[in-house]
């Protein structure tokens, strides 16, 4: 017993070590690849750049007097900023040519901007307000207040509000005696704790809640404006954004929400003083499904509206020029007379600095001054950034210096202004480029590490070491892992890349030292292994081409179909070659085996083809029409609600009913063991709860209710799942021993449909002992022993599938069902192939590369099937709110975990289910004896999976080789995407295509590693339990 446990542990340790080493390589690579921007802690101060002509206006000589300016004379005293979250430019644009009946819900609902611009063309301005990706609210607020560019990796901190440490406009305002009042989104409170003189903040977390924040802001806005104790009011409305998340832009709710915002803007304009500047702006836009986060035009193009009675803008140009969001900071700072924050990269909107009272010459001077100060500030920042040891691209930096010289040379004011503008634009461009800079050495060392671990895994799979693992090798592998981790930690903390290479050398040395164990014993690749490997290598090579990455969902489906069809073809060849003499079609293809093959193939192929319904469109797939599956129930038109509800519940019911039916067929759901009772009740109960929860959601959405208890069903499901999995891990046996014959008469069999039960005689084991113990007439009858190994796994997977459906949302329950069906069909085909071709149990239990390839392709296909794409806008943020309400109660990990579960559901499911690949042929051969090949001795194989329990070494070996092959393929995919990201790091499409692809694959690999480990651990646990049960039975007999 102890020995079994020990050996089982060894298997897990080997897999764990390989996974760990792969992860180290991956982390090393990503550390070099996803660099963050260096934050400079300096602040701008009032004395940095003085107004060159202080005598011109009296006050400017003295810093920070109320009403006086720091660097230049401020044109405005007060500012009101209305931040309407997700206000897209076309929401704000008024198109007079559209009739009221033809407008979409988001069009022409805010006529205030159009009217004001028309009435006061010199006092108001409406323009596109271009955000920098990532377009999440948190990143945008950072960008809008510091005036710098967010870097790629910051996006991961979206859920954790963090105080801004960099110099920013709010700090500058507060430092120079301006009082700031904040209303609305509580993200501001997290970013700037203690800065605001007055605040009315509301939780932004509940996306389903459209009104609380907006009503709160509106109820206080008028009152706050009436008070005299402010210089700046920031009012952050969230309703439009939440409405987009909940219903999408094309929904009547959006129209009412925008109309409400229109009203709010009108009220603010009515209550404004003459020396107040009004800014109405969106921090980002939204896609057609109401999401945001990426860099598509719809998400990036927000609206900016500037208005003040005191403004004097030049005549509006024919085409309104877009304004970058970083430009807000210098504009705001200079127009209120505070220093521009140190690391701001924006270009001041010089026209906003001109007020109506100025003469033409004064106005020109004002614009010139603003730009000049702006250039000086940006130059100071760039120099400081360079002094920290960062370098700029030589050509761009040189060009900047040239421009600066030119600007100073130019005598005409207009020429200087043009040069200043060019300088600022170029500086921003250059910074955008350098913040996508990489640590090439670190990336290389990570790649080398991954490659050598891949090599090790490949050798392990084919080596003789796998058949009998020596304990000392495992110990050394463990030591190697620990040392490599230490080196990794050193290389990160000291920044010496050499440690990464050292780890790599160490692994190679380890492999060299154990070469006699790692020698490849026999390498017999058959067609069934080679062709899938070739297909998979096509898939891997596709990572290097942007067009293949863009259409990867199509490519993966094609490869998967080819793999499945290859199985069918080879099976047909095998069938025909057996029956050479008979030429009749019906005779050859009419038997049960061939019909099962054909049905399995057809089911798999149709399911894969149907997955197109659930695919999500990438931005680059211009031909793709978004399907309805991505829209939640509440976002659909009314007449489709019932249809959607039932088409969502039906797949859910099927996904639970089919595995349940299988377990019943195998006789695993009899008796009253704890596990059996749970497996009978929990999945069904959970699926009913899911259906109930969907109904509650639909009712809430339809009647705008906020039911108190709507988070309860998901939480109950999570709890039930946790209990179910935990109990099954402790008592994993799903078998039923019939009581002995004497008591059996008095106690009739409790079973709903006894005809489907397959009573399984535990003959062979007992016969051995009957000879010793001749008076033992009682042969125990055990139900479900032949599938005892897989039944517990299936029972666990059933519940996991229900949770996955819950998190995926109602639209995608069909997708999860399709995934389950394709997986089942692949298992069937693979088992049939094994049963047809194998000569002994050892071959039968070792699935080989073909099964690993199929499973691997299926896992990637599943990712796309469940409506995902490797781009950030495609993340299903709505999953974060399944059973979670309010940020305070649960922290940030729960929503992040839920989104992760939603995104990587297929990797999780298939990783957990990997041991089924090993046992499927045995289980099928018992349950459907007609599929059993004639080559395998009938008596042996009829014991099914219990054979593997009796031969634990064989089970361990095949589990290990299967897991290693699967991990090898997944890691090879990640290696190829990393290599693609490395080689193509100057590619135009890097940040749009390759980098997100790499990040998604990398996280997917980690999910795979964890779930494979969990699945293996669980199976080995079941095996140990079954073995000890068998021993007990023998002792009792």
């Amino acid at each position: 017993m102890w020995m079994t446990r020990h050996r089982n542990c060894e298997v897990l340790v080997v897999i764990f070590c390989v996974s760990e080493l792969l992860t180290v390589g991956l982390l090393l690579f990503s550390h070099g690849f996803l660099l963050t921007r260096q934050v400079i802690p300096s602040n701008s101060s009032c004395d940095d750049f003085r107004d060159p002509k202080p005598d011109h206006r009296g006050e400017t000589g003295h810093p920070s007097h109320t009403g006086g300016g720091c660097w230049m004379m401020p044109p405005f005293r007060k500012t009101i900023i209305l931040l309407i979250d997700a206000l897209r430019y076309d929401f704000a644009l008024y198109n007079a040519s559209l009739k009221d009946d033809d407008t979409l819900p988001y069009q022409n609902k805010m006529p205030v901007f159009g009217e004001i611009v028309k009435q006061h063309p010199h006092q108001a301005l409406l323009s596109p307000f271009m955000a920098d990706a990532p377009t999440t609210t948190m990143q945008r607020l950072k960008g809008l207040t510091t005036g710098s560019l967010p870097t790629f990796i910051d996006a991961s901190l979206n859920f954790a509000s963090e105080e801004i440490e960099e110099d920013n406009i709010i700090d500058q305002l507060v430092r120079h005696g301006r009082r700031v009042t904040i209303l609305g989104d509580d993200t501001w409170g997290g970013l700037f704790p203690g800065r605001f003189s007055r605040s009315h903040l509301y939780s932004s977390f509940n996306v389903m809640d459209l009104h609380t924040v907006d009503r709160g802001v509106l109820s206080h806005l008028g009152e706050e404006m009436g008070r005299g104790d402010w210089e700046v009011i920031v009012a952050h409305f969230l309703g439009v954004d939440h409405c987009g998340h909940r219903y999408g832009p094309n929904h009547p709710q959006m129209a009412t929400k925008l109309a409400q915002m229109n009203e709010a803007v009108l009220q603010v304009i009515a209550g404004m003083d003459n020396d107040t500047l009004l800014l109405v702006l969106g921090d980002h836009g939204m896609t057609q499904t109401g999401d945001h986060g990426g860099d598509s035009r719809e998400e990036v193009e927000a609206a900016l509206f500037v208005y003040s009675p005191a403004l004097h803008l030049p005549s509006p140009p024919v085409h309104t020029l877009p304004v970058a969001q970083v430009d807000l900071v210098p504009t705001l700072a200079l127009s209120l007379g505070v220093p521009v924050p140190f690391s701001s990269l924006g270009k001041v909107m010089e026209d906003v600095l001109v007020t109506a009272g100025m003469s033409a010459e004064e106005a020109e001077k004002q614009r010139h001054l603003g730009l000049h100060l702006n250039v000086q500030q940006v130059k100071r920042y760039l120099t400081a950034y360079r002094e920290l040891g960062n370098s700029y691209p030589q050509d761009l930096w040189h060009k900047l210096e040239l421009l600066e010289g030119k600007a100073l040379e130019k005598s005409s004011v207009g020429g200087q202004r043009t040069a200043f503008s060019e300088y600022l634009t170029l500086a921003k461009l250059m910074c955008e480029e350098i913040w996508a800079r990489f640590d090439v050495q670190e990336m290389l060392s990570g790649l080398c590490l991954m490659l050598s671990v891949l090599l090790m895994a490949g050798l392990l799979i084919h080596s003789s070491a796998l058949t009998d693992i020596k304990t000392h090798i495992i110990k050394r592998l463990l030591i190697l892992t620990v040392v490599v981790n230490l080196l990794f930690a050193l290389s990160l903390s000291f920044g010496f890349v050499i440690f990464g290479y050292a780890a790599n050398v160490l692994i190679l040395l380890w492999m060299y030292a154990h070469r006699q164990h790692l020698t490849v014993s026999q390498l017999d690749f058959k067609a069934i292994d080679c062709i899938p490997l070739l297909l998979v290598s096509f898939l891997l090579l596709g990572s290097f081409s942007n067009s293949f990455v863009v259409v990867e969902n199509y490519v993966v489906a094609f490869i998967l179909l080819s793999c499945i069809t290859l199985y069918l073809l080879l099976l047909m060849l095998e069938i025909v070659s057996k029956k050479l003499s008979s030429g009749k079609m019906l005779k050859v293809f009419g038997n049960a085996f061939s019909v099962t093959c054909g049905t399995g193939w057809a089911a798999a192929v149709v399911c894969v083809r149907c997955s197109g319904w659930f695919w999500r469109c990438r931005e680059e797939q211009h031909w793709c029409l978004p399907g309805q599956a991505q829209v939640p129930l509440s976002g659909l038109p009314q007449h489709l609600h019932n249809w959607r509800y039932f088409t969502s519940v039906l797949p859910l019911a099927l996904a639970v009913w089919l595995p349940r039916r299988w377990l019943l067929l195998c006789g695993n759901l009899n008796g009253s063991r704890v596990g059996v009772v749970l497996a009978r009740t929990v999945p069904v109960a959970c699926s009913v709860l899911v259906a109930v929860w969907w109904a509650i959601q639909a009712v809430m959405a339809a009647h705008n209710l906020d039911l108190w208890g709507h988070v309860i069903p998901p939480r109950v499901i999570y709890a039930a799942t946790a209990v179910h999995v935990a109990v099954l891990a402790c008592v994993p046996l799903l078998i039923y021993e019939l009581p002995p014959a004497a008591s059996r008469k008095s106690q009739p069999l409790v079973s709903d449909n006894p005809s489907t039960l397959i009573p399984h005689l535990y003959k062979s084991l007992m016969e051995k002992y009957r000879t010793q113990n001749s008076k033992g007439p009682t042969i125990p009858i055990v139900y479900g022993l032949a599938t005892g190994l897989s039944a517990s796994m299936v029972a666990v997977l059933m519940v996991v599938v229900v949770v996955v459906v819950l998190v995926a949302g109602d639209g995608l329950s069909g997708a999860v069902l399709l995934l389950v069906l394709v997986a089942a069909a692949s298992l069937l085909l693979q088992a049939l192939w094994k049963l047809k071709t194998c000569h002994n149990l050892k071959e039968l239990a070792r699935p080989g590369w073909s099964a690993a390839c199929l499973w691997f392709t299926l896992s990637i296909h599943g990712f796309y099937l469940t409506g995902h794409q490797p781009t950030f806008p495609a993340l299903h943020w709505s999953a974060a709110f399944v059973g979670v309400e309010g940020a305070q109660s649960v922290g940030n990990w729960a929503p992040a975990l839920l989104v992760g579960l939603n995104t990587y559901s297929s990797y999780l499911l298939l990783g957990l289910a990997l041991p089924l690949v090993v046992v499927a042929p045995l289980a099928l051969s018992v349950v459907f004896p007609s599929l059993r090949g004639s080559r395998l001795e009938g008596d042996e194989i009829s014991r099914g999976e219990f054979l593997l329990v009796e031969e634990p070494d064989m089970l361990r070996e095949s589990l290990m080789s299967t897991a290693l092959s699967y991990i090898f393929l997944q890691a090879a995919k990640v290696f190829c995407t990393s290599l693609a990201a490395f080689v193509l790091r100057r590619h135009l499409m890097l940040w749009k295509i390759f980098a997100p692809h790499f990040i998604f694959e990398a996280v997917g690999l980690i999910v795979t590693l964890l779930s494979v480990l969990a699945g293996l651990g669980f199976t080995l646990r079941v095996q140990a339990a079954l073995a000890s049960w068998g021993e007990r039975l023998v002792k009792a007999a």
Binding site: F538, S545, N546, S547, F548, V550, V551, Y554, V555, A557, F558, L561, S562, M572, L573, V576, S577, L580, G583, K584, M585, V588, V605, V606, V608, R609
Partner: protein, 275 residues
């Protein structure tokens, strides 16, 4: 395999393959000349499919009993059923194969309704190259015969066409925006290239086989005649295997052409090389 084929059948086979080659190159040339214009390309592809089927039918008509034993079985069966029924069955199966190919192409990712004409043209092309031709040559049990790997020619051609069509899907996603990347063209061109490749392979095999057979016999005979027979040795065992091979070949061919020459029925008895 080819040893058993008579010279007439071999000639026919060579001719057929050469014609296949000419047709294939012709249709490719037409498509290229049209600048990959879709409508005309589809039209020429359909014409090509029809032409190929017709060619196969003519060949089948000219060699009613083709080479291998499979056709012997088929022939035996033809006697039972009427010939019209057999033809009807072949036509029915051909239509089914076109529909089946269409369904498989759609399952592999082609649009269901959009581009249906293009998809159907491709299915027609692939079905006529890979399925209808074997059906014509081998009769209704063609599928099993193909899987049994009996008739090398049909099998290699069918598989080459299918694999090349499949591989033709790979250039579609590339963003080169070339006219030949339009939907059915890559796969169709793949199918035709597969067919061309198989034809060339066959011609080369036929050439080398036929050539070496005849050459072997001639060389051996000359050697024997010059070195042994002229110097007085009448022992002719040295060329026996080669000669037998050749003779068998000729005999089979004569049998197939229904030319009865009773004299050469028993080679060991009377017919030895005596020039």
């Amino acid at each position: 395999m080819f040893e058993q084929t008579g010279p007439h059948a071999t000639n026919l086979l060579v001719l057929k393959n050469i014609l296949c080659l000419v047709f294939g190159v012709g249709v490719l040339w037409t498509i290229v000349l049209s600048g990959y214009e879709l409508a005309s390309s589809l039209y020429s592809l359909r014409a090509y499919s029809l032409l190929v089927v017709l060619l196969e039918g003519v060949c089948r008509y000219l060699t009613p009993a083709s080479s291998s034993e499979i056709s012997a079985i088929a022939k035996a069966k033809t006697k039972k059923h009427s010939k019209i029924f057999e033809t009807f069955l072949v036509v029915l199966l051909s239509v089914c194969s076109v529909i089946g190919t269409h369904v498989v192409v759609v399952l592999f990712g082609a649009y269901v309704i959009e581009n249906i004409e293009a998809t159907f043209t491709l299915s027609l092309l692939v079905a006529s190259l890979a399925f209808i031709r074997p059906l014509i040559t081998l009769g209704r049990s063609a599928v099993i015969n193909l899987l049994e790997r009996q008739n090398i020619e049909s099998e290699v051609k069918s598989f080459a066409v299918l694999v090349a069509t499949w591989a033709g899907a790979f250039p579609i996603p590339l963003d080169w925006d070339r006219p030949w990347q339009v939907w059915p063209l890559t796969c169709s061109i793949g199918a035709i290239l597969g067919e061309l490749g198989a034809s060339v392979y066959f011609l080369s095999v036929l050439w080398s086989k036929g050539g070496t057979q005849w050459k072997n016999k001639a060389r051996c005979f000359n050697q024997w005649y010059g070195e042994k027979f002229l110097s007085g040795q009448t022992d002719d065992t040295s060329c026996e295997p080669v000669y037998k091979q050749y003779q068998q070949c000729v005999k089979d061919a004569l049998k197939k052409l229904k030319i009865e020459i009773p004299k050469i029925e028993d080679p060991s008895a009377d017919d030895k090389p005596k020039e």
